[in-house]
């Protein structure tokens, strides 16, 4: 029945590139030494881990000793936020946005329970944070500002350069959850004045379960776990060696192709947005220009996102949705609510996230399958008939 399989959920995860997989393979059964071991077998692995650290650092303009490997974006965010909060003698103030990933939002809610105060800044209808609002929110005891580099749902890029400059000016730490940006767009920790930056390998064609936290030299945190002295005690525990090797390689490859990939994917993105918009009563969510190269988030009016996804799934097209029905929470996503979408529009949201490997033919296939799907669901919808 299906003539094609089209994966457009790269915002959720990406496939490991074959050359990355090949590069990782020896570190499972051949080079399995513990990098902390003193013997030659361990030292060889240590060398490979440090090589991966150098590659990771180089990709974001950092020094190798400022890179700490973690289990992924969630863990990096937790270490940066909880770690800085715990380092303090008394509770203080945190600034973040209302559209952060739950790995930041939920940590901030925990910090509130521990006595800290948190400002959740609103965003405009495109999902942008106003740097002036950040400045105004700073209080005497604000110790960290955490703003994502780009939103995972609607793809909106944040003015992190301006926000980083403000943080620097006021002597406040700046953390950015850059999980959606690293490997997709050029990013330099010096340009954005970051003290902490979170990244995750599986978003840039690396393996799952591995990420990194950039922590600027001199920044101090209280680690979440105690154990060995791995990763400068910031993240103790025997290293996920194959993961680290894969992360380093995947990031090296991603960065080497970044400009070529960016323009290719942006072209596909815009073609998809244009084609879907032509269906009528389709709204683009997020910023029209300041958005991730691969992110297409649209609301199909009068129909519900999960039923759209299921229908695409039947045609071999894999996407995701921020609708209440697909989230399991019955509430539309906090991001779609924050940009002011009414319940019905938020309900009809679907995210297509393009990535390496998607082609023009993939976009054409989606655009060929979309009209009958939308038409069928609308023909069933009482709100469409009552419009």
């Amino acid at each position: 029945m299906q003539s094609r399989l089209v994966y457009m959920d790269h915002g959720a995860t990406t496939p490991v590139r074959p050359e990355v997989y090949d590069y990782m393979k020896p570190y499972f059964s051949e080079l399995y030494g513990n990098p902390s071991s003193l013997h030659a077998f361990g030292r060889k692995v240590r060398q490979a881990v440090e090589e991966a650290r150098k590659k990771t650092a180089a990709a974001i303009g950092a020094n190798p000793e400022e890179i700490y490997f973690t289990a992924g974006g969630t863990e990096s965010n937790n270490i940066a936020l909880r770690g800085t909060a715990r380092k303090r003698a008394k509770p203080g103030h945190v600034i973040t946005s209302s559209i952060e990933h739950h790995a930041v939002l939920d940590v901030c809610h925990d910090l509130e329970k521990e006595g800290h105060r948190v400002t959740f800044l609103p965003v405009d209808r495109y999902g942008r944070i106003d740097p002036d609002a950040v400045k105004k929110a700073i209080e005497k005891d604000t110790f960290i500002i955490s703003i994502m580099a780009a939103n995972n749902e609607i793809g909106t890029l944040q003015p992190i350069r301006e926000i980083g400059a403000i943080a620097r000016e006021y002597g406040v730490l700046f953390h950015t959850d850059a999980v959606q940006v690293v490997g997709q767009l050029p990013l330099d920790v010096n340009t954005i004045n970051a003290d902490f930056l979170s990244l995750s390998a599986h978003k840039f064609n690396g393996p799952k379960g591995i990420g990194a936290l950039f922590m600027k030299k001199g920044a101090k945190i209280d680690p979440l776990y105690r154990g060995g002295s791995q990763e400068g005690k910031i993240r103790p525990g025997t290293e996920n060696v194959p993961g680290i090797i894969g992360l380093g390689k995947a990031l090296e490859v991603a960065v080497s192709e970044i400009s070529e990939k960016k323009s290719k994917i942006e072209t596909l993105r815009d073609r998809l947005i244009e084609g879907l918009s032509a269906l009528g009563d389709v709204v683009l969510n997020g910023h029209p220009v300041e958005r991730l190269p691969g992110n297409v988030n649209v609301s199909f009016k009068y129909i519900e996102g999960e039923s759209v996804l299921l229908s695409f799934d039947m045609e071999g097209i894999f996407a995701s949705s921020g609708s209440a029905c697909s989230s399991g929470s019955l509430e539309p996503s906090h991001v779609l609510s924050a940009i002011g979408l009414d319940h019905a529009t938020a309900h009809g949201s679907v995210r297509f996230s393009l990535g390496f490997g998607n082609s023009e033919e993939d976009v054409d296939y989606v655009l060929e399958k979309a009209p009958p799907i939308v038409e069928r669901l609308r023909s069933m919808s009482p709100t469409y008939h009552a419009r």
């Binding site: 299921l310 609708s323 029905c325 919808s381 009482p382 469409y384």
Partner: protein
Amino acid sequence: MYSEKVMEHFNNPRNVGELNDADAIGETGSFKCGDTMKLYIKVKDDRIEDIKFQTYGCGAAIASSSMLTEMVKGKTIEEALKINNQDVANELGGLPPMKLHCSNLAADALQDALANYRLKQQS
């Protein structure tokens, strides 16, 4: 996450549309998730002779709507009054726990249509 039967009804929903000469219409919206349903019934000799629906909602909501119309068609008013959301979910081979409320949508629309029909008979 959905049973084969749910997917089958979602893909080939029965009795979709409007009835221009409906004897009663039931309407319901879920406060929980925002789904809405409109149900049209045509009654002859105390029996639901024809039934159509329109639903805005997820896969479970559309499948529940379709299944309900199939269960109700040909039934007497009295028999139809006994149908509840659990019956609809059971006929579908079960629904995921988070989706059970979707079957309420269909059952509520039916009860609303039957109540409107009764009101119309009394007036």
